[in-house]
Assembly symmetry: C2
Homo-oligomer: 356 residues x 2
């Protein structure tokens, strides 16, 4: 990885230092209409670079993560005479950092980027890995590049105004990273809670730092996602299936909530197939049940859940569902092919563990 990761709640100071290190180039700040209103005034007060920058504001929401909005950014850059040496600071959640990253990666064949994530999911997930992208014709991240920013400034001060559900959703990705790391990391996270009264920005920041380094280590080993990067798919095959089922029931659930349930399924399968330790499985399932509740379904839903898993875009062999599993905490096995019967057993055990 060549990008700098800076963990601090003195965001303005960090930003000004970074911009100075880049030779004080022309600076742009990209935000969506929500962040422009709620976050930018404070940032402008803390940072000379942000105060002096030209602002580009795009429409908020996943639905606007599209080519129209990218063209709006390209036009704004062009009209301001942006050169290849300019830097764009993306301030926002995943939509802004993904879209802003794509616009910057392609404007004059690549401007420089600093990301300032303002959501927990953005901080732990989108900040590392160099994935930029937009949706195209209704398909998520169909168009994009692998382009790392110069730096990401990861902070927790913005999170105090986030809804509890959003914090929990981001925390599920942290749990995933800890499962990929080791038992110490996992214990730290399972002994913490990202909701009040335990949550505060200063205690959360070091936990984010460890899990981001786990992700950075995995991404470094496989930038273009041909092998071990699939580790980061842990919990997502079943998670996406739960998300799709919830969507069909017209009561959608947040991505992280689905991932938390998916992680339980993946640990059950890991136990069945690879002897993943039963005590860790039980502790983990109890944590998810307490903090995220269970996702409710019956055996009548099994065929549909299996169909969603079979359609997962990460599958490589027709007719088999490929999972990322663990032989132990931190001991990752990608491309584990599972039969429908094995998955049915795991769904049975999940319902048992979660009391549904």
């Amino acid at each position: 990885m060549t990008q700098k990761l800076i963990f601090t709640n003195l965001v303005g100071e960090a930003l000004d230092t970074l911009v100075a290190d880049l030779g004080n180039p022309q600076v742009f700040v990209l935000a969506d209409s929500n962040t422009a209103e709620c976050v930018m005034p404070a940032l402008v007060e803390q940072s000379k670079a942000a105060a002096g920058a030209r602002k580009i504001v795009i429409k908020a929401g996943e639905i606007h993560k599209d080519l129209d909005n990218v063209q709006a950014v390209w036009n704004a850059l062009h009209e301001a005479g942006a050169t290849r040496g300019a830097v764009i600071i993306n301030v926002g959640g995943g939509v802004v950092t993904d879209l802003g990253g794509f616009a910057a990666a392609t404007f004059k064949r690549g401007m420089r980027v600093i990301n300032v994530p303002t959501t927990l999911l953005g901080a732990v997930d989108a900040s590392v890995g160099g994935k930029t992208g937009i949706n195209f014709n209704g398909y998520k991240n169909e168009i994009g590049t692998f382009t790392e920013p110069e730096a990401s400034i990861i902070s927790t001060g913005f999170f105090v105004t986030l809804p509890q559900q959003q914090l929990l959703s981001g925390y599920a990705e942290m749990l995933k990273h800890a499962l990929l790391e080791n038992r110490d990391e996992l214990s730290k996270l399972l002994n913490y809670s990202v909701v009040y009264p335990m949550f505060n920005p200063d205690t959360l920041l070091p936990l984010i730092e460890s899990t981001v380094h786990t992700k950075a280590r995995i991404v470094d080993a496989d930038f273009r996602e041909t092998g071990i990067r699939k580790a980061l798919n842990l919990g997502h095959t079943a998670g996406h299936a739960f998300e799709s089922l919830a969507m069909k029931r017209q009561s959608p659930i947040a991505h992280g909530f689905a991932v938390a349930q998916g992680l339980v399924i993946s640990l059950v399968l890991s136990h069945l197939k690879l002897g993943f330790p039963s005590d860790v499985l039980h502790t983990f399932a109890a944590y998810v049940r307490t903090n995220y509740n269970a996702f409710s379904f019956t055996c009548d839903d099994y065929p549909e859940l299996l169909a969603y898993m079979a359609a997962d875009k990460k599958n490589t062999q027709p007719g088999a569902v490929a999972f990322t599993l663990l032989a132990d905490v931190g001991d990752v096995r990608v491309d584990q092919q599972l039969t429908d019967d094995e998955i049915r057993s795991a769904l049975d055990i999940y319902r048992d563990l979660m009391g549904i």
Copy 2:
């Protein structure tokens, strides 16, 4: 450079070997409507991979090197269920390889690409360097990436049907590369002519091979064009000014014809500023005069030519015009700041040398 450069007139055979080496993935062929008609039938006959590929045909011409055409390619890839592992073969001139390269670099964050240039300019210039791009809002290559193809297959068989003017235009870039290399290379090119009766595909191919390697060497040293890659700008500052003046006179000249004249200007300036050898300058100017004629202008045109040079996008210091010059053949000096008086003198000497 990681891309393979294959110099051969057995294009079909080379293509099939490459596709097999890539693990026989899903194959797409991209061509514009002209090439689809004139080149594809022969290619399909010679290559199993091309014959079995899905064809994507875009509108021909620089005016269609735009986002609409990129979206057409993305849609075609999407509808055919293209994965990140698929390969797209761009068959055509610079418009097709630039646009197809950009579409591929951004579809699912990057498919694999094989370029098959069908013009001399494409073979010597666009095939190496990893520049992909499209025009945006009337600005050339405003949007794009630096992304290398897996391989380029460089051949000369397609050129037998090209107009003589196009061949000469491409040959000007070869002359530039030879000036950046050494006297031997330059002699070889000055003793050759890319028009009949001397031109034939088999004698041209090895000459292309040397000059492409010169470009590859320079690009390798500076992929993102921050320093020595500016060597490739030799002749282009004055060349672009001639192009602009010709456009304004409503009698446009081909890019390579303008570059040939620009190379003479840059050698005159190199002689004045850096003692570039006078005998080489005279031999080179005579070759350009014989093969490309002179570009006609008077001292009344000087202010306009100077203004065009000052507006060149490669300038970094306001108020000064930066040229790439040579102290000798192969001895490159980038970022040479020149005064208006020096440029006026060079324009005087050019007119003298070229007999206008």
